[in-house]
């Protein structure tokens, strides 16, 4: 199952819940304000690295760019574009965590 997160980890428990209920190996996709979780140098960086030991973490490039943080993504987070987003959603059943 693909877990979609669109809220900042500083505002919402969406990512935390996604990680708690996701099986090991289930991918997580950050988009809209969810992309802030993938930013380097934040208080959340260690947490996202820990998450990456059990899950592929994808982030939507367009939403990073819109927020001015396209050049500050944590190493190991996989950047995808809109067509990549569509491909992922086509391949999985999805759960949205706001």
């Amino acid at each position: 199952m693909l877990h979609l997160v669109n809220k900042s980890p500083f505002e919402s428990t969406g990512l935390e819940s996604a990680v708690r209920y996701a099986h090991k190996g289930s991918p997580i996709l950050l988009f809209e304000d969810g992309v802030y979780a993938a930013m380097a140098g934040t208080a959340y960086e260690d947490k996202i690295k820990e998450i990456m030991s059990d899950h592929e973490v994808y982030v939507l490039k367009e939403d990073l760019a819109a927020r001015g943080i396209a050049d500050r993504v944590v190493d190991g987070v996989k950047e995808i574009d809109y067509p990549g987003f569509v491909d992922l959603v086509e391949q999985h059943k999805t759960a949205s965590w706001a």
Binding site: M1, T13, S17, R20, Y21, A22, H23, S26, K93, A95, S96, W97, A98
Partner: protein, 124 residues
């Protein structure tokens, strides 16, 4: 529904507290609507969603309708597949004895499995 039509597995997931937003109430409305169509319905309570079925609610002074008793009517709709996440309950200082209904207590790793089993599920 005709006999040739197969009931679909559908699940409503409650994950927000009841009165601070409309999610929980809308979730319950959706359960009742789906219940009218003889579908194979499951209900899952996780995160703050567990607060929706706390017993002893008294909303009178707030002017908001207490909709928790409606959960007790689910049996009349033949909705009996009720699940609740143990950690969500326990971390909020609650147990099944504090609830208006008695869902089956499950572990966090059973949540994704339940979701995968459904034709579709809806989070509120």
């Amino acid at each position: 529904m005709g006999e040739e039509e197969k009931a679909e597995k559908l699940m409503i997931v409650f994950r927000k507290a009841p009165y601070g937003s409309i999610y929980s109430f809308e979730g319950l409305e959706n359960v009742l609507i789906m219940g009218a169509y003889d579908q194979d319905i499951s209900i899952l309570f996780i995160d703050d969603g567990v607060y929706a079925i706390k017993s002893d609610m008294d909303t009178e002074a707030t002017g908001i309708k207490n909709f928790s008793p409606t959960f007790r009517a689910l049996e009349a709709y033949d909705i009996e597949k009720l699940y609740i996440d143990r950690e969500s309950l326990e971390s909020r200082g609650l147990s099944v004895d504090d609830l208006v209904i008695k869902p089956k207590v499950i572990e966090a790793d059973e949540v994704e499995k339940l979701m995968e089993e459904q034709k579709n599920f809806f989070m509120f």
